[in-house]
């Protein structure tokens, strides 16, 4: 920190310099106002100037530089006065004012006065520099804070999660953009405790009690609940929060997030439903197999017969299931069911004539019809139209009448086969055809053992096909 000295006349400058030297105060002599202006611009510590030197046009440049000082800076001037204040002209007073921070020392110079004035000016100037340093530091910190906040917002708004934060008492005072994008509510409208209203009514109480528990104990918060989406639908989200503690262990804030888990949750629910449905179907199928095996064994002539019947009947069931899986499990087409049931019995000899419209048929009915056709064809191969080359079987079905009382009719008529005799007892085949099939269609079924050929007719309301 040094002192610039401008005192062009006489020995004032030299005397002042020596005096300051002795006091260990650095100084430079400015030969002109222009040079002094240069020192001022370069933030000199203080200026010692003779009043008579402050004239001429260069003074304007100095005044300008003084005006342009940064806010913290005010170069102190010690002016060696000409005469007394009362003798000073108005113009001279203005010039003095233009220096902004000037004290007057009268001449002749008194050494101690001068040194004290200079010291005081330099001290003040040092304080200015210190103030500047503190200000710069503060500005830097402010900038850092601003940048860190901007960084936080950039991160918080870039993640897929909704992020929120609360005061230690649970008062919500921050949500990231995702929260507002998801919920569609106006900024700030869910501050405080209004967030709870965004939850599904059935989840509000549960969420509140969990949150209260976390606030009371500091335990992490975790809960799955339904959050109201801007579309008006509720979507499953996973809510989590953790407290941030001070060095003394007190909770300063809570930071939380919500993750949209709706798709995962729905997929999981569907998987559970599907598993339950599969289990139900498997159990049902096993119950059917159980019934078929018991029934077959009950009426079989020999174990060998029973084995063959059980195998072909279960094989038929398996085949019917294949087709149901290929369609949607709930419905298939009747012509496909008939065709598939007849395939194992087709010999290429043109026994079958099949006619009927392409009607939808329920899974249970499809299975029952497959089983019944299998029984009819097996019987025909043993005793009926499929046992000789000339035998014919006419299979036809249709919907008779329309509307509520529309009737579905399905016929199986054998001809040109061996002469038919009334069987001595009713086996599972015929019971399956008459009782079971009729039951599945909620209608009636009848087998006729006419001499010219066995025939069978199933009648039900047409809604029996799919009900």
């Amino acid at each position: 920190m040094s002192v610039a000295i401008l005192a062009p006349r006489g020995r004032d400058a030299e005397v002042a310099r020596q005096l300051l030297d002795k006091e260990n105060i650095a100084s430079v002599v400015a030969p002109s106002v222009e040079k002094l202006t240069h020192y001022v611009q370069n933030q000199i510590g203080a200026v010692l100037v003779a009043e008579e030197a402050l004239i001429g046009t260069e003074i304007e440049a100095l005044q300008h530089s003084l005006q342009m000082q940064p806010p913290w800076s005010d170069v102190p001037f010690i002016v060696l006065a000409n005469g007394t204040a009362s003798s000073r002209s108005a113009a001279a007073k203005l010039r003095m004012d233009a220096l902004r921070n000037a004290v007057l020392l009268s001449r002749p110079l008194h050494a101690e006065e001068l040194v004290r004035a200079i010291r005081s000016a330099l001290n003040a100037r040092t304080r200015q520099y210190e103030a500047r340093e503190r200000m710069v530091k503060l500005e830097f910190r402010e900038q850092q804070l601003y940048e860190s906040e901007a960084k936080f917002h950039a991160i918080a708004d870039s993640v897929d999660q909704m992020i929120w934060s609360t005061l230690p008492d649970g008062y919500h005072d921050y949500y990231n953009r995702r929260w507002y994008e998801f919920t569609g509510v106006p900024d700030g409208s869910t501050d405080g405790e209004a967030w709870n209203g965004m939850f599904h009514p059935d989840d509000q109480e549960r969420a509140w009690s969990k949150w209260r528990h976390s606030l009371a104990t500091g335990d992490p918060y975790e809960i799955e609940y339904r959050l109201k989406h801007r579309s008006g639908d509720y979507r499953w989200v996973l809510g989590r929060a953790q407290p941030v503690r001070s060095s003394t262990g007190e909770i300063i804030r809570w930071y939380g997030s919500c993750t949209d888990i709706h798709k995962i949750k729905i997929a999981e629910e569907q998987r559970q439903l599907m598993l339950a449905e599969m289990n139900h179907r498997v159990k049902n199928t096993l119950a059917m197999v159980h019934a078929i095996v018991s029934q077959t064994l009950r009426q079989a002539d020999s174990l060998q017969d029973a084995q063959a019947s059980i195998q072909s009947r279960i094989g038929m069931m398996a085949q019917a299931h294949d087709r149901l899986i290929q369609s949607t499990w709930t419905e298939t087409k009747i012509d496909e069911v008939v065709e598939a049931a007849l395939v194992p019995h087709r010999s290429g000899q043109g026994h079958f004539k099949v006619e009927g419209p392409d009607l939808p048929i329920g899974s249970k009915q499809a299975l029952a019809l497959t089983m019944a056709l299998h029984e009819l064809a097996t019987n025909a191969a043993k005793y009926g139209a499929l046992s000789i080359a000339a035998g014919k079987i006419h299979i036809y079905w249709d919907i008779i009448d329309q509307g509520e009382n529309a009737v579905f009719e399905f016929n199986w008529v054998e001809s040109k086969g061996p002469k038919v005799e009334q069987p001595s007892r009713r086996g599972l085949g015929s019971r399956m055809i008459e009782q079971a099939l009729a039951g599945y269609f909620n209608g009636s079924a009848e087998l006729s053992y006419k001499t010219e050929g066995l025939s069978f007719v199933l009648k039900s309301l047409s809604k029996g096909l799919t009900d």
Binding site: L286, V289, S294, G439
Partner: protein, 127 residues
């Protein structure tokens, strides 16, 4: 096939799957019981009203219509308290408390011997 025994109570078999119902009817008839059958809870109640010799209800749970087997069992227990109830079902997660008190439960598919033993035990108890 054992002959029908007048001293035994008649059994009402309620099952919506015709094939399974057919087998259940045969099984219970073979055990020497008179049988009635119904494909739904509504039809079962009509049967109960019509035949006062029914002493045992043998029902499935999962059935279409307004009433499933559990509701039917509860209804029967309430309206005809002496009628014994046997429930058979493939339902996986069943709350035992949802069954009427004193009723027997068998998972499907069931063993014939278990059902006939239970029927005979009930017949002895009711006699």
């Amino acid at each position: 096939m054992a002959s029908e025994d007048k001293s035994k109570p008649a059994v009402l078999i309620v099952e919506d799957e015709p094939l399974i119902r057919m087998e259940a009817v045969d099984m219970i008839m073979d055990a020497g019981f008179k049988t009635y059958e119904a494909g739904s809870a509504d039809k079962a109640i009509a049967m109960m009203e019509l035949h006062d010799d029914i002493g045992i209800l043998f029902t499935d749970i999962d059935m279409p219509g307004t009433m499933d087997g559990l509701k039917l069992a509860a209804y029967v227990r309430n309206r005809w308290p002496p009628v014994a109830i046997i429930i058979a079902s493939g339902v996986v997660e069943l709350e035992r408390t949802s069954l009427p008190e004193g009723s027997a439960f068998f998972p499907k598919p069931y063993a014939t011997s278990q059902i006939t033993k239970t029927l005979h035990d009930i017949a002895v108890r009711l006699h």
